[in-house]
């Protein structure tokens, strides 16, 4: 299981601050696919990135259960 931190619009879409993914996902790309299947509204966003251990992660990066994983919808700080 991977516990995923949610922020901003993603927290609103999912309805809670953490999302547990039980499916067997081992890469960033697979994780995004699962999320977008479960929450079609995520596909309508301008972008959806994944951070692994608080660094932006490329699609092919692997994820393990001990990583800190977060979904990063379009940022709008400043």
């Amino acid at each position: 299981m991977i516990a995923i931190k949610l922020f901003g619009v993603m927290r609103d879409i999912v309805g809670k601050p953490m999302l547990d993914i039980d499916e067997q996902v081992t890469t960033v790309a697979a994780l995004k696919e699962v999320v977008e299947q479960k929450y079609p509204k995520a596909k309508a966003l301008n972008s959806l990135l994944v951070a692994v251990n608080s660094e932006y992660a490329a699609d092919e990066q692997t994820i393990t259960a001990t990583d800190e994983v977060a979904l990063i919808p379009p940022v709008s700080g400043g």
Partner: protein, 139 residues
């Protein structure tokens, strides 16, 4: 590289950042102060809310500021970003850059705010009289 990065719920006071970067070696301080506007795209804004993913936001800010130090001859940099609920006129962000010569200060300060807005995981929700929206989320 002499810099300080702060993500805080407390009100930001630009003068504090200016004082913090001022050194006897610097001849110029460039400061960017973001303020909460009362309208965007013609819609009246009543309140803003900022949320940050820490420590990633701090990490990304460190990257940006260190990149600026590599790119320009800077003396001191302070970046402060506020989180939580802000009223119109309040200050979400202050960037202060001290340099010996002013041109580098203008360029580095603009680079920092431009890149902050692109990469730092902070999110802004605008509240209107009839609803609210996460800025930049949707096309």
């Amino acid at each position: 590289m002499d810099y300080s990065i702060q993500i805080t719920e407390k009100p930001l006071v630009p003068e504090v950042a200016i004082q913090a970067v001022s050194t006897p070696n610097a001849g110029a301080v460039n400061v960017f102060v973001g303020t909460v506007r009362n309208a965007t795209s013609g819609k009246k804004v009543v309140q803003l809310e900022f949320e940050a993913y820490e420590p990633m936001a701090t990490k990304e800010l460190v990257k940006i500021v260190e990149q600026a130090f590599r790119q320009w001859p800077l003396q001191k940099v302070v970046v402060c970003h506020r989180t939580g609920v802000l009223a119109i006129g309040e200050v979400p962000v202050v960037i202060a850059v001290a340099t010996a010569h002013r041109k580098a200060g203008f360029q580095a300060c603009e680079f920092i705010i431009d890149t902050l807005k692109q990469t730092v995981p902070i999110w802004k929700k605008e509240k209107y009289e009839d609803g609210e929206v996460w800025v930049a989320a949707h096309p």
